[in-house]
């Protein structure tokens, strides 16, 4: 409810982007810090955790303080990574993980009845870890405290990405684009198109996707079930790509370009290509900070498959604290492994594939991705019930 509210545009985006453009180079990071802090406080107070949510601004300040001690090959970088993962574990996974041991909340001594998520925690976690890891590996300069605060509190991307990289962001912060007219023309266009996708596509499809519950599935005709799931597949794409469009457009008003997140993923003809074009900033983060440190593609075949599965399992559980998200991640991991094994068995020839093959590959990818959404939007029992009704009747 942030990007589709007037508050966002009138109180934050327009004033902050104009102040940022008018400020001198030394002042700019502090404009981003001040506006990002106010944004965090305002939307935390009104939507995410109230006063306790507001207090979570301290996480950013603490992270900035610790980050000043990061050096190449320093254990403090590891400390930064561990504390960031702990923040995420406490806020997002405490009830889920303790629920695995004590399934009944009233008997769970660790159950957090008033659990809430600090605004954007799933996404700022990625940026904190990226910075700590890259400082450890000496892949980025430290920048000043103000610049780092501007990086982590840049509000257009704070809540749900795209996930930025410090090395990309810093030069843009230091030398902001001077093409006001082009930036605002493109930025406003992106924001308007994003809002159309959200309101006219994603929200309209909610009428159909709301039926993805056990009661409606048990009463519906079989033929309508795949249509509801297809509606969900289109909705989640329209919804998240709309969000990304608005975030990217908003950043553009500041004169800062942030990474693209979607590049026509549903037109891709295999699952690996799909992931290279769906939530691209997440995929590249997972590759750089999970898959490659695990050994990537350089290990033996079995190890590579294990690396893929672990990476996708983590991707799944990151999407939500629930068994269904684990299953969803695992399904995608299995699809990536199968695709890789198939390509090893049948390498591509020098000739481009025939149109029928391309079409068949596209259809297979599209169907598999959309069937897997069942585990994203329903709990495991309901999703299995959905497939049982779909297949058996």
């Amino acid at each position: 409810m942030i990007f589709n509210s007037w508050d966002y545009y009138l109180l934050f985006l327009i004033p902050a982007s104009i102040c940022f453009r008018l400020a001198g180079p030394r002042l700019r990071p502090w404009v981003v810090f001040a506006s990002g802090s106010l944004f965090f406080v305002y939307f935390s107070y009104t939507q995410f955790g109230g006063l306790v949510g507001v207090a979570c601004l301290a996480i950013f300040l603490w992270e900035c303080f610790v980050s000043r001690f990061y050096r190449a090959r320093s254990w403090i970088c590891w400390l930064g990574i561990v504390q960031t993962v702990l923040f995420l574990a406490v806020f997002k996974y405490r009830n889920f993980l303790s629920g695995l041991v004590w399934p009944i909340p009233s008997e769970n001594p660790l159950f957090w009845r008033h659990a809430f998520l600090p605004l954007g925690i799933s996404f700022f976690t990625f940026e904190f870890i990226h910075y700590a890891a890259d400082r450890y590996n000496d892949r980025t300069e430290a920048g000043s405290a103000g610049e780092y605060l501007a990086f982590i509190l840049f509000f257009p991307t704070m809540v749900a990405g795209p996930i930025k990289r410090y090395q990309d962001f810093l030069p843009k912060l230091r030398a902001v684009s001077r093409e006001w007219v082009t930036d605002w023309q493109r930025g406003v266009t992106s924001i308007l198109v994003g809002l159309v996708k959200k309101f006219a596509v994603a929200d309209v499809l909610t009428a159909y996707t709301n039926h993805l519950n056990r009661a409606d599935i048990s009463q519906a005709h079989r033929w309508i079930l795949p249509l509801w799931l297809l509606a969900y597949g289109i909705k989640i794409y329209a919804d998240f790509s709309a969000y990304s469009d608005i975030a990217i457009g908003s950043a553009r008003l500041f004169g800062i370009r942030v990474p693209e997140n979607f590049d026509w993923p549903y037109l891709r003809t295999n699952i690996a290509e799909f992931w290279r074009h769906w939530h691209m900033s997440l995929t590249s983060w997972l590759i750089d900070y999970i898959y490659i440190p695990l050994g990537g593609s350089r290990a033996g075949t079995g190890r590579v498959y294990a690396n893929i599965l672990v990476t996708m399992l983590l991707s799944g559980i990151w999407h939500g604290a629930g068994m269904n998200f684990l299953v969803w991640g695992l399904l995608h991991g299995v699809m990536l492994v199968v695709r890789r094994a198939w390509r090893q068995l049948r390498p591509l020839g020098p000739e481009p594939p025939a149109p029928a093959t391309v079409f068949g590959s596209w259809l297979l990818t599209f169907v598999c991705v959309n069937l897997a959404w069942a585990f994203f939007c329903m709990d495991v029992d309901t999703a299995i019930f959905f497939f049982r009704r779909l297949i058996i009747g």
Binding site: A160, T189, S190, A200, D239
Partner: protein, 70 residues
Amino acid sequence: MAKTENDKTLSAMDWVKQALDYLGGACDEAPSGFPIALGNWAFWALWWAGLTVLIYVFSGQSSKFIYIDF
């Protein structure tokens, strides 16, 4: 080398994708042969007006964005 029918179909699809990206604000450069320049303010004003009308017509359903923390 002469282009096959397959190549032509693919390049036509790429052109449409690029044109849509351009209209959506995702890229600054129009595909070759696209008739609308960035400086054509009459077109962009109309385009924004059309988008605004769509937003107005469909707004008010107030559902949250899916990907923001569940």
